[in-house]
């Protein structure tokens, strides 16, 4: 079990060695940089292919003018970048900031993998920050899912006893049918759901509607509400559940929904490595044309691994 120190982050530091952010077609991509005015020696922006080029171009230009080095998300560039940082043992990094708002879940997984593999004598402090979005209705059609499986090879987990029953912990969001589909695929003996609360009531209504086939017959005791404004609380709740489930089960977490839930899941998996697997979908569901505007609120976690 990895020693993991997770704290609530209320104020971002004004000086980092490395800052990592993502640029897609969501206006909130620039919120953290804009509002928190984070300073860093090296700044990287991972750029994603997505529709609505006009807005994407504007966002990319923003990061360019703010002196971010762009890294295209394809062809293993992110893994290469993180690999270089990891092997920079001559100058170990002490503070890293990751704006997870617009990072893909796979890349966020690579970042947490990178953090867990750090073998420097002084462990860096890693600040994960996330800009919450204003309400936007769920997309009508999420399109076909080409891959459903471990989010990265690192998070495929490993069990020394494959005869153990499995427990599935789901974060639910706008992705309809995924919860049921995943249950069919994995055939867990126990399933738990994490349902986001604490935001615009329209979100709650839309999420409940989208997941009605899954949630309607569910005993309330297996559904945990989590407050999206309290990622530390979410991490603690999830960690506690996983700890108890691991006594007799293999655990798979599928953190659909908010990316802050995904972050908490990756951190819990890193803590119990390799006993916990993280599953997700590819391609990730992106809004086709609709924008995701910042709500003006952000949350953060400070992590030492």
């Amino acid at each position: 079990m990895k020693n993991l120190k997770v704290k609530k982050l209320t104020v971002a530091s004004d000086k980092y060695d490395v800052l990592l952010a993502g640029a897609n077609n969501e206006s909130r991509a620039t919120f953290i940089d804009d509002v928190l005015a984070i300073k860093a020696k090296e700044k990287y922006c991972i750029e994603y292919e997505c529709p609505n080029n006009k807005r994407v171009d504007k966002i990319k230009l923003y990061f360019k003018t703010k002196k971010y080095r762009s890294v295209h998300s394809l062809k293993g560039n992110v893994r290469t970048l993180l690999g270089k940082l990891l092997k920079a043992t001559a100058t170990p990094l002490s503070r890293i900031c990751v704006d997870i708002t617009c990072l893909s879940r796979e890349d966020l997984g690579l970042v947490v993998e990178f953090c867990s593999k750090i073998k420097w004598s002084t462990k860096p402090e890693i600040h994960f920050v996330y800009s919450l979005a204003q309400y936007s209705p769920p997309p009508d059609d999420v399109g076909p899912i080409m891959h459903l499986g471990p989010i990265t090879p690192f998070f495929s987990g490993w069990s020394s006893d494959p005869t153990c029953p499995s427990s599935l912990v789901l974060g639910i969001g706008y992705e309809p049918d995924l919860a049921l589909g995943l249950m069919e695929r994995l055939e867990p003996s126990r399933t738990f759901a994490f349902r986001p609360t604490g935001h615009d009531h329209r979100y709650t209504k839309a999420i409940d509607e989208k997941n009605s086939a899954f949630l309607t017959p569910v005993p309330k005791a297996t559904v945990f509400d989590y407050n999206i404004l309290d990622p530390l609380g979410t991490y603690t709740k999830l960690e506690s559940l996983v700890y108890s489930e691991l006594r007799d089960n293999r655990v798979v977490i599928a953190p659909f929904g908010l990316k802050s839930m995904a972050l908490c899941s990756y951190l819990v998996a890193a803590r119990y490595l390799p006993q916990v697997a993280i599953w997700g979908i590819k391609p990730e569901i992106m809004q086709k044309t609709e924008d995701r505007l910042p709500s003006g609120k952000w949350v953060g976690l400070s992590v030492k691994m």
């Binding site: 471990p150 495929s156 695929r185 017959p217 005993p219 297996t222």
Partner: protein
């Protein structure tokens, strides 16, 4: 939750034998003809979709299950089964782990070696676990015994030392239990070894791999030598061991090949009993003429029912067992669930014989002849006198009337009167979204659940639990439950991609087209005594569509109609015939019966010009929410 306890009942927990201990599986197990075949001393493959009971069958061959089994036929099986079952489970999660080990920093060949080594250690662990079950010293007192042996600690120590040497294991305490734990540790060590490689010099990797003990044992020779050592230790040199590989298609490719290739060559003390999904990738197909083939080298058990009636006896037994659990053992299932409308049993006029004037069939025929113009034409063209159908010879009645009744029942349930249809309206009219009240009762429940124990247990449990102060389960409650089950099933299937299918790119888009097409053929089109109900997959079907349908077949969403019985696994769906699972009949509004065959490409082409709003596509969801 302990591994040896039953999971708490909840709609969240699927009934899956994999998570249950052999003792729990034995408690619910009902021996079928399949178990008779499986328990023979022969290599066997068990083929069936999800939930069809493959795992239960294999698990019941373990010593622990046989000893815990209390059933009138159990002792007969304990006497007959002259081998020791070694259950080797595999699942999707572990398969992903085996495939992912070392990905991103190790070469493919090294990754395969690690995956194979982990799987072999897993098989070794299962074998030692089965050995432990046979030694009386390790077993609690039980009422029944199966192949128990008593050996001294000295003999056990001798056996363990021999096996540990053969498998390159350092076992500090020479006991079977200790050996079992060492094998678990070995699986954990394999992962640690792989992770360490990411940061070690590439140049010496070959040497490090070569030095590792866990790469040394080869699957077949290692299990053969261990079996021989144990058999010699207990003075039973010819003792047989059956390796029960569950969901073998999820094992590493090279392991599957070794098993296939070994069926002919391995010594006759080792048997293989394999469970497989109906559709398997090419790797399971015997390529060499020397490879094992179905019928000659191994028996095949097919766990789905092409003809619905074949599954009724098993379903009936299973349901009776469930009623017994609820202290309703004296109750006839029909008294609780009622009879099926498709049986033609008439609740309102039980004094009147079927087909006589006033009977259910007669009233239906008369009603449809009045409201359905094309059916009226059918009656007239065949000169059927509806007032005298009771007098028809049985053979005539069967060919003219009886076979069309199920179609008419569905047609009547969904169709509005022709006179209500406005001429020139392109969208054909169907009845408002109410429950049709035709999908309930015995034996419809058996047919709708396809003889799939997981489906039957899941649906019947919910229905029995929902009874309030009443011994009967209403047809509305049954139909609602079936629609919920179908809705959940469709939701599960919605994540399966199908890029070469219709717009939308999902398998469910294909299933919707098929379901809507059959609905149109049965309900909306001119009356046909034999509407469409089966589909053949064309030779020209694109690969992604075939693959998606393969997953649908393995999930049980479509059912293979083979030309012969027990044809084994299918490696290509092209040129073969299927039907939609009857579980989807209420969802699409189609009969619980087979029908005329049509090619998939024709359905796809004709569906493009189809303009109907079917009963599917989410309408049921809204209806169920209201209910």
């Amino acid at each position: 939750m302990s591994k040896n306890t039953e999971p708490a009942p909840s709609p969240f927990d699927s009934f899956n034998a994999r998570a249950l201990s052999p003792e729990i599986v034995a408690r619910r197990f009902i021996p079928s003809v399949h178990f008779e075949v499986l328990s023979r001393r022969a290599h066997t493959q068990v083929i069936g979709p999800r939930g069809s009971g493959k795992t239960s069958l294999l698990k019941m061959l373990q010593t622990a299950a046989l000893e815990a089994w209390d059933h009138p036929k159990a002792q007969g099986f304990r006497d007959k089964i002259d081998f020791t079952g070694v259950f080797v489970p595999t699942d999707v999660g572990w398969n992903e782990q085996l495939n992912s080990i070392g990905e991103g920093f190790l070469e493919e060949s090294h990754r395969k070696r690690l995956g194979d080594a982990a799987f072999i250690a897993h098989v070794h662990h299962a074998l030692v676990k089965a050995m432990v079950c046979r030694v009386s010293r390790y077993k609690q007192q039980s009422k029944y015994h199966h192949r128990r042996v008593t050996i001294s600690e000295k003999i056990e120590s001798h056996i363990v030392k021999g096996i540990a040497t053969a498998w390159n294991i350092e076992s500090s305490i020479p006991s079977l239990i200790s050996l079992k734990h060492s094998l678990r540790m070995r699986i954990a060590d394999i992962w640690t070894f792989a992770q360490a490689e990411e940061f070690l010099p590439l140049g010496q990797r070959q040497r490090r791999f070569h030095a590792q003990g866990f790469f040394k044992p080869e699957l077949m020779s290692s299990i053969a030598s261990a079996v021989e050592m144990f058999n010699d230790g207990i003075n039973d040199s010819e003792g047989r061991w059956a390796f029960l590989f569950d969901e073998l298609e999820l094992a590493p490719e090279r392991i599957i090949k070794q098993i296939r290739d070994s069926i002919r060559s391995i010594d006759d003390r080792i048997l293989f009993k394999l469970s497989l999904s109906p559709f398997s990738s090419q790797q399971l197909q015997a390529k060499s003429p020397l490879s094992a083939s179905s019928g000659n080298d191994f028996q095949t058990i097919q766990l789905w029912y092409t003809h619905k009636r074949e599954g009724y006896p098993f379903c009936s037994e299973l349901l009776k067992g469930m009623l017994q659990d609820k202290n309703l053992q004296e109750t006839d299932p029909e008294k609780i669930f009622g009879s099926s409308i498709f049986q033609g049993i008439d609740d309102e006029s039980d004094e009147i014989k079927p087909y006589e004037a006033g009977s259910f069939q007669h009233r239906l025929l008369v009603k449809m002849a009045k409201s359905d113009r094309s059916f009226k034409q059918y009656v007239e063209s065949r000169k059927i006198d509806l007032s005298r159908i009771g007098d028809l010879k049985e053979s005539n009645r069967a060919s003219l009337i009886r076979k069309i009744i199920p179609t008419l029942i569905v047609r009547e349930a969904y169709r509005t009167r022709d006179s209500l249809r406005k001429s020139g309206v392109k969208q054909l009219k169907i009845r408002s979204r109410k429950l049709p009240k035709i999908y309930s009762g015995i034996p419809s429940i058996y047919a709708l659940t396809e003889g799939n124990p997981r489906w039957l247990i899941g649906i019947a449990s919910n229905l029995l639990d929902a009874r309030i102060n009443s011994s009967k389960v209403s047809s509305t409650a049954q139909e609602t439950e079936f629609l919920l089950a179908a809705e959940r099933f469709i939701s599960m299937l919605r994540i399966i991609p199908c890029t070469d299918g219709p717009e939308g790119g999902r398998l469910t888009d294909v299933l919707d087209k098929i379901g809507e097409f059959i609905f149109k053929s049965v309900v909306l089109d001119e009356f046909s005594p034999q509407p469409y109900g089966e589909l053949s997959v064309d030779r020209s079907c694109p690969q992604s569509l075939v693959n998606a349908l393969g997953i649908a077949l393995n999930s049980g969403a479509i059912v293979y109609i083979p030309p012969n019985k027990n044809t084994g696994t299918i490696t290509d769906l092209r040129g073969k015939t299927f039907r939609l699972s009857y579980l989807l009949s209420p969802y699409y509004g189609i009969p619980i019966r087979k029908g005329e065959k049509i090619s998939l490409s024709r359905i796809m082409n004709l569906s493009q010009s189809l303009d109907i709003k079917s009963v599917s596509s989410g309408d049921w969801k809204q209806l169920l929410m209201r209910l």
